[in-house]
Symmetry: C2
Subunit: 197 residues, 2 copies
């Protein structure tokens, strides 16, 4: 009795959106350009997304989720057990991946607003029900399992994320040659301090 949405159309729209947002910025990209590139009609866009800002948010969510899940899968193949070293492994993977894929880093830093970010953190903080594999939940699980006494886990996690972005992401984006390997020991030392306070 029905016709179902074409997943290929959606993925073409996501891909076209990502490329165009990167090249020209969200504000400067028209929906007409996106649908032309994705080879669908304009009206179709609106059956998948409310507007181009919803497309942008979905892209950020999808991309960063994939990034973290890949890191976590790789971690599970190792025999790392201590929380601080687990976190460092994941951070290391993400830094290297974003260094390899600077377009993705560019996209995230260009489009992620403090408002969206803190809202997301706040949402994560409040709902303990969902079965998703968010960074925060895995962090909490690690703390519990290893009996580590951290008073404000969400603050500690937030600080780690900000520490990583402040030390590394500007370097990756703007500086040549990359001082990442100089930063890493300093960074990982700080993470150990934050977790084992």
């Amino acid at each position: 009795m029905k016709k179902e949405k074409d997943p290929e159309k959606e993925s073409r729209l996501l891909k076209s959106g990502f490329n165009l947002f990167l090249k020209k910025g969200v504000q400067e990209t028209s929906i007409q350009e996106i649908v032309d590139d994705a080879k669908v009609a304009k009206g179709t866009f609106y059956t998948y997304f409310k507007d181009k800002y919803e497309l942008r948010n979905l892209l950020i969510a999808k991309k960063s989720n994939k990034l973290f899940n890949d890191a976590y899968k790789k971690l599970q193949k190792t025999d790392i057990k201590k929380l601080d070293e687990e976190v460092i492994f994941i951070v290391d993977y993400i830094i290297d991946e974003l260094n390899r894929n600077r377009l993705l880093l560019q996209f995230i830093t260009k489009n992620l607003s403090l408002g969206i970010y803190s809202k997301a953190i706040n949402e994560i903080y409040q709902k303990n029900d969902a079965s998703d594999n968010s960074v925060y939940k895995l962090f909490l699980k690690g703390i519990q399992e290893q009996n580590i006494d951290i008073k404000n886990p969400e603050v500690t996690l937030y600080m780690i994320i900000e520490l990583v972005s402040s030390t590394c992401f500007n370097s990756i984006l703007y500086k040549e040659p990359l001082p990442i390997n100089e930063f890493k020991p300093y960074l990982y030392d700080e993470i150990r301090k934050l977790i084992n306070a």
Copy 2:
């Protein structure tokens, strides 16, 4: 031989922009609405600002500059000498002020993007010439005068800023009753640790 720009028109535009951006968001506010509210013609808008995003950036810069300058003036009336206590005084002032003026905090968190933020930090980091009284410069000056050994001042400052926003600003915006006073001792302890590492 000339006519000068009317400062009252500019301040009306700034005020109207602030109110409308807050109420409806930048994207959803049209320039027509701003100029109608400010009672100037549309063309006039463009003699003061390139577009509404320049107006938004200017608002962020002005508001946060005032906030910091007020804090700094008040600090100078005290006899606080140690850098960590100076920083804590300023942070304390800013937290209380944003708690009193939540609209301002809402505006900042809604509109400040990670991209703008890291760009600004990066600019501050690179230019040592200007005679402005930026947070970073005062921080550097404090470090030099008091012979404190901080390897990466801009990272430390960035961390302090993020620490403050992560612990307090979500609470101020979303939680009732406010747990600010619970947070403060923890927060100020962390700041002391960061500075006197």
